[in-house]
Symmetry: C2
Subunit: 507 residues, 2 copies
């Protein structure tokens, strides 16, 4: 499926016309649209899941959970829009006594950037696709969205967009509010168009980098928010291993195997002074249903890359299989696989990090055997450039407040926070809560822009821009900046006179 | 002056070592450093102003005001650091009843990005230079700063950096906290170095674009915050013109002539249905001291560009001088000029917008004669891509609340807010208040990244990155995320149980 240049021109033109309409839509109307979209998705879930299952090979259980998550995140953004915290409304009162001379009345809020192009992902046909997190954030911010459908689920994308367009039309909103395009070249042409004011993307580092470079090279560059590849290192202390090694082994396999490992948060490297009990438990889990149930990969391209990746790793000297996966390719070119986990020494990792310490998209992970007593913090900087997550498994004593002074563990946590967007304790990185405090984004190559998140309500900040109004008559002010605060949003006021004390409270 | 590759290597290494030390410095210590830097600047103002005057040709009065502003903004950032609002601390309580299944305890704050490279400006030897707004924001965020000195004031840069380094050493902080480099190639080499994690810049569109492209093309791209060129359109309504045209004319000339027009907020285009009274008042002001006092331009390169620019504009058919400036070049190559203001019809502007509607750095501005009754809003989109500011002068009646319904004026304000970062009423864009609600940044080419500001406390957000901690034992949490909140920072809590109602309040 490809959108023609003529159709794209119409789509861009409709998005540009919709932008000013959406920008002035009251927060409650914007929230009502998001809620209605969530409800419509819920109402048609069975029909959509059937399409999704055939296009992606993901299980109905997993897809059902994903529809729920997608509907919930639309509702979460509805609440966020009404709360108005994202507007960061600031009011500086006029101040004739200001230390630098009379200060004008200054009021600052955030406005929508305009039409946004959202490249959807293969591995989340609902949650990072037509009505997924990025679209929800874009609409919540008050921007029109043009979704570039992923080629892995075009029919589902069409069905979801049609549903959204019905809801939009029913509410009397412009047709340019949410539109769908197909085809790689169409996506690139849209990204280069001056009417598009920001881009978002979830996918591979390779593809994301190409698009980020295009966005940066435009005559008028635009922000491009790409969520790319991630290794998600996990560190298990010897105390944790001693106290619950076998349990950790099977949880690890479950995290690697879920959704056939096709998650950006799949743990790709596990560092630990692994012992026989851990390896045996892992082998046992690998021989159970968890390790032997075949799962279809999303499509032929992911299949080819995954099988090549695994072969490349297994060919490395010193790589020892712990869970040996199987694979076959069906007549449609889709792989059917079971998980593979290997182990290597620290020396082997060091000598082959360009193969072993990179993301392998699929149910594959590498255990790095760390000699007991090795400082863990330096390994983060050595092997991890940037990652969405970093995980630590601690023992009971290490977790207690009294152990806060353990400098080596504090160093490890600090190192992880410098190289990852989310640091987890005693859990697994797969499964990303959609909440206000979530952070899904980390240093390159995890994301193109690590100052933002693609999950959680903070995600809508990506599609806003600050504007200040100086000495504006109230008739010309946005509602969020009025003294009477009709929207009831948080307003940060700086009173006249307070500049006199600046810097005097400290020193 | 050029920094050698060997010296640069040492500087980068020192900055990288300083980063973790500064990152864990308590907010009060960070604030105390900023306050001490402001105090030291104040204490040595006379000596520094003497150097600055000889290097830049700016007047002692203007430079004195600039030192005060620079010291005040260091103190303002000290207060901002202690307040902790920039940390945007969020705490999601663990929630077993969460709509998507049990939610972990999630806590999100912001951490410093690491060493930042700050390219300083020619036109603000204090306020956008070694200890200027960007450096203050970088240090406030907890990052080491490497300042690329502007070649227009190397001696002042050295003197200011030496003063800063003394303060830093006195407080026992690392030498890598603030360092100075010289030379264009050195700046580019530093920008390409992986130890540098963000860049900031104040200067020309041409130079800023080159650097932004380098930052985007790195193997690991970094954010680059460039504040570039701006036209700063001013719209005067006929009612404003009728009620106070002559006063507006001389205020306009003062705004164009101040600091020899070498301000990024200088009004470059004034749209009005100008009448004889306005033009006569402007000519009279031009013949007064305001229009006839020679002012030195910052340096030979700016002189050459400015004189070429003015010649190019004056050669355009239909350009009519109103205030005719003089110019001479001294033996050092510095221009000495008086302001020039010309007028053109809308048709002439339309036919020559690539010459007339671009920034001319210096005391030059263009009046666009708009036939009375012409809708003003469409002119914004037609002639302004992006601008730091946009200004409207209203009449008494138009300013009153009852006139808020004037659709044409509302449209003008909306259009300005879409193309500018700050919208002013009944004032002039030069003179930028340093306050919490300030916004100094706008759509390309005003800035490379219009989601941020380079003036005001929000500026420190450019050098921070969010990190979330999941189920972290309190011993491993940053102080801002502790339940007992020892820093007293704002914390946004999401209570358990509230997800049930998401999206239900609206619809």
């Amino acid at each position: 499926m490809h959108t023609s240049p003529e159709a794209l021109e119409q789509i861009l033109s409709r998005a540009a016309s919709a932008a000013p309409v959406l920008a002035v839509l009251p927060p409650r109307s914007r929230a009502a649209l998001l809620t209605a979209l969530g409800d419509a998705l819920d109402a048609e879930r069975d029909r959509l899941i059937t399409i999704a299952e055939s296009e992606t090979g993901l299980t109905p259980a997993r897809l059902g959970g994903e529809v729920t998550r997608t509907a919930v995140q639309l509702r979460l953004f509805a609440d966020a829009v009404v709360s108005g915290a994202h507007l960061d409304a600031r009011i500086d009162e006029a101040d004739p006594e200001f230390v630098l001379g009379a200060r004008p009345d200054l009021r600052r809020t955030h406005i929508p950037v305009g039409p946004v192009l959202n490249f959807s992902a293969s591995n989340f046909p609902f949650a990072f696709s037509v009505l997924g997190g990025d679209s929800a954030a874009i609409l919540a911010a008050g921007c029109p969205v043009i979704v570039k459908a992923h080629s892995g689920h075009p029919e589902l994308s069409e069905a979801t967009a049609a549903l959204a367009q019905r809801v939009i039309a029913d509410r009397g909103l412009p047709a340019g509010t949410l539109q769908l395009i197909h085809g790689q070249q169409t996506g690139v042409a849209a990204l280069r168009d001056p009417r598009v004011r920001a881009g978002s993307f979830t996918g591979s580092t390779h593809g994301g980098r190409i698009l980020a470079d295009i966005a940066a090279a435009r005559p008028a560059p635009i922000p491009f928010y790409g969520e790319l590849g991630s290794v998600n290192p996990v560190f298990v202390t010897s105390e944790a291993l001693a106290s619950r090694g076998p349990a950790l082994a099977s949880e690890y396999l479950a995290s690697v195997a879920g959704s056939a490992g096709q998650l950006c948060t799949k743990p790709g490297l596990l560092f630990a002074a692994v012992d026989d009990a851990f390896l045996e438990a892992l082998a046992t889990a690998g021989a159970s249903e968890l390790g032997t149930s075949e799962h279809r990969l999303l499509g032929p391209r992911i299949t080819d890359t995954y099988l090549e990746d695994v072969d490349r790793v297994l060919a490395v000297d010193g790589v020892q299989p712990v869970v040996i996966g199987t694979s076959r390719v069906d007549e449609a070119g889709n792989g059917w696989v079971t998980p593979t986990i290997v182990r290597v020494t620290l020396e082997t990792l060091r000598a082959n990090s360009e193969v072993l310490a990179e993301e392998h998209f699929g149910p594959f992970s590498v255990i790095v055997e760390v000699p007991d007593g090795t400082p863990l913090a330096p390994l983060v900087g050595e092997f991890i450039t940037g990652s969405l997550t970093g995980t630590v498994h601690l023992g009971e004593h290490e977790r207690s407040a009294a152990a806060g002074a353990d400098a080596a563990l504090s160093d490890l946590v600090t190192a992880l926070s410098r190289h990852a967007g989310r640091v987890l304790f005693d859990g697994w990185p797969t499964g990303v809560a959609v909440t206000p405090a979530q952070q899904h984004g980390g240093p390159w190559p995890a994301t193109t822009n690590d100052a933002s998140t693609s999950v959680g309500t903070a995600a809508l900040g990506r599609f806003l821009r600050p504007v200040a109004f100086q000495n504006a008559p109230s008739a010309f002010l946005p509602a969020a900046l009025l003294d009477e605060n009709p929207l009831g949003v948080p307003q940060e006021r700086s009173a006249a006179g307070e500049s006199i004390s600046w810097g005097r409270a400290v020193g």
